[in-house]
Symmetry: C2
Subunit: 449 residues, 2 copies
């Protein structure tokens, strides 16, 4: 981010020389989204000074962009009047996010400086269960009555527009606030001023319910190419909207969670650097323990074949290769399937199609690997029996790993479990055990051990 | 998708009864994004029939939503006039996508039915290198001259608005088409009609260059919460815009690529089900071969310690557990770091911070695992030397795996390589080798083998 470094340098120079007028002008030219990085590189005193030079609206916008710990620090330095200003200017969904992150003494101070009517809305929003549309929606949307003319509509936008998070889509409501239709700003602009809103609205509204899962909401955005989606309650009354920026945040968050689950980590909400060492350890230890204990099973199997190993110690040298290849083959399949399920490319009813495809892929891949392996064994040991045993195990392991790699995630999804948990680590441990068992079973048969 | 099933059932009934009027009304109520699934479930004849009942604009919108193979099938059934209609109605970026996917005989027919001026733009767009802003941008944007009044601006939107992919952001250009500023439709709507566009535009425009990487473009959307970003050439002339829906598609695509690379798969552009068995095998075999051959190294190390194994065969039983735990510990770290790098949560300059954090996490996790393992060994074998050897190896392996798990991806990024390639599979293979080496080195020392 070279850009940010240039901004930072110029800013520090202006702060040093105390040219307030120039500093204010310069701050006006900086994008809100660049402030978190700027604040990270200033001391407390400089932060408060810079913050107080911002205009009322900008101050609130910048505040929303900050990391929660910087917000907390800043709140502790601000006067009640300044907090009041922030709370008046920010959108309701941001206010809720803020309150959820702050310690209780700070929350008290924030709520004391919020208008009673806003406080009511915030409390309403805080009630929705985690990860639902209700928690990510905002209550500031543009609504029209069905009998308004286009001219009336423009008048309303002029009055209320700056207080709405988006005016790209406006919602037409009945008297009891039921959602009748949506008007895109484009169709409003190309309409004649005396047309009635009801006549230009689109009644096929794509909408979500307050309790719908946030991941489903992001899928709707992606599928229908929306910039905002209305959120209705059970009686089809409009209670809020979700905007695309929040949907993207959810999408990124859910993807990060999938990555973590697939690497055997319990997902944490905080970013990597913000999470404490203890928290990191806690999120990782459970799966590591489970997988370690499962891996002992594989060890137990090897012990059972101790006599075979004593008779032919060279067999042991192939175990890492067989386990590794099995694990890698399996995680290739499981990753593709889990990602396919997450993006709706694959659905649970495709299970047999997928299994058949994976079987053929595994056969092809397995044969190539077995062939290369056989050549290597012949060169190194010149023993056709070993070559056969290892290559046969390899093919069986690859097929088995790839079948499990597609069956486990799809079944998990079918059982309404999270497919991502069925990924590499768990799969690898199962495949390890089975591959070792296969190897020694084939070996004892071939060599009559 | 229960919704789609309901739609499909109703549609099939209407097709059967041949109630054209009702069918047409019903089709009007279906969202464009639902048509791909509908067409998948109709035969060729029904598809063409349904398609021809759509209005001109809708037909083009529906066409754009289809999978490329369905587009190809449909084009083969359409008359030249119908193709001409599609090409007149769709946005330029969609036209380019279409042409890139079609076989050359279809491309010829499409271009023959495109207006000469559009053909020129398409050819321009086709020239941008893969994965750059130029390939995902559209050339249909709303532009204003700096001296226009707000009233003029609205007039222009009325005339040209429906031909622009978005009017949420409008761009103010100088006479030589240099980008001077951006006007959000909101500020246009709250402005007085006699104000000059120049006075209400925002001159701090967040923009990208035609040759900028598409992944960077998506990061800009995410950071600045935009719905469209202007694309300029080297002389700051506006040549196109990228809209949020295309940015999300890129984001999803790049994430899927990361998932695949982290599972040792060469990324393919097509979806899982559309990719052929042979193609799947090809994308997976290279890494599997590389990793198999590397795993043979680990086998080689085990062979070197054959005398140690003969003296104390029980040692072999711990190999899968050590390898597995090492691999899992390492991929936990590498996954967190790779994802952190992808979302800009972590930057390469954080390397020492990250290493120190991972070291402490590894120490904590390693001690817990070693403790559990020691108890288990004491119960099963009642041999303190074995318990000590295995537990010591475990702690060293976890620390080493987690250090490599953070160093490798960050170094890859620093060297401008893809961090995702440094993930689990490659890492696991390295950790496997080292853990086995460590284990036997410690064992021979402890037991004087």
């Amino acid at each position: 981010m070279e850009n940010e470094e240039v901004i930072l340098e110029k800013l520090k120079k202006l702060i040093k020389t105390k040219k307030i007028k120039e500093l204010r002008d310069f701050l006006d030219s900086v994008n809100e989204a660049d402030f978190p990085t700027i604040f990270e590189n200033l001391n407390q005193e400089q932060i408060v000074m810079v913050y107080r030079l911002l205009s009322k609206e900008r101050a609130a916008e910048v505040f929303v962009e900050l990391e929660s710990e910087d917000q907390e620090k800043l709140i502790n330095c601000l006067t009640d009047k300044e907090i009041n200003n922030v709370m008046n200017e920010i959108y309701m969904d941001d206010a809720v996010d803020l309150i959820e992150e702050m310690p209780s003494n700070v929350v008290k101070r924030i709520l004391a400086n919020t208008k009673p009517e806003d406080r009511k809305i915030i409390n309403e929003l805080l009630k929705y269960p985690d990860d639902t549309a209700g928690t990510i929606m905002t209550t500031e949307f543009m609504d029209f009555k069905e009998n308004m003319t286009v001219k009336d509509a423009f008048e309303r936008i002029k009055q209320k527009g700056l207080k709405s998070e988006t005016i790209y889509n406006c919602y037409v409501l009945s008297i009891d606030r039921k959602l009748l239709g949506v008007v895109d700003i484009k169709s409003l602009l190309v309409a004649e001023t005396d047309e009635i809103v009801k006549d230009i609205m689109d009644t096929n509204v794509i909408k979500v319910q307050t309790l719908q899962d946030q991941e489903e909401v992001t899928k709707i955005f992606d599928k229908y190419d929306l910039v905002a989606v209305p959120v209705v309650d059970k009686e089809n009354r409009l209670v809020g909207i979700v905007t695309i920026d929040d949907a993207i945040d959810v999408l990124q968050e859910e993807t990060s969670e999938d990555f973590k689950k697939m690497a055997a980590i319990n997902p944490a909400k905080d970013s990597y650097l913000k999470t404490s060492v203890f928290e990191h350890a806690k999120n990782r230890i459970v799966w590591l323990l489970v997988l370690m204990i499962s891996a002992m099973l594989t060890g137990g199997i090897i012990e059972k074949f101790e006599s075979a190993i004593s008779a032919l110690p060279v067999l042991v040298a192939f175990i890492p290769m067989l386990m590794g290849t099995g694990g890698n083959s399996g995680s290739q399949s499981s990753t593709l399937i889990i990602r396919g399920l997450a993006t709706d490319e694959i659905s649970t009813k495709d299970i047999f199609k997928v299994m058949w495809k994976e079987f053929r892929v595994a056969l092809l891949v397995g044969i190539v690997l077995a062939f290369v392996n056989a050549i290597r064994v012949m060169i190194q040991y010149n023993d056709i029996q070993i070559a056969f045993t290892v290559s046969a195990t390899l093919i069986c392991t690859v097929i088995l790993a790839k079948q499990l790699g597609c069956i486990l995630p799809i079944c998990a999804k079918k059982l309404k479990l999270d497919p991502a948990v069925m990924a590499s680590p768990l799969l690898t441990t199962i495949v390890d055990t089975v591959s070792v068992l296969l190897f020694f079973t084939i070996s004892t048969a071939v060599f009559n051990l």
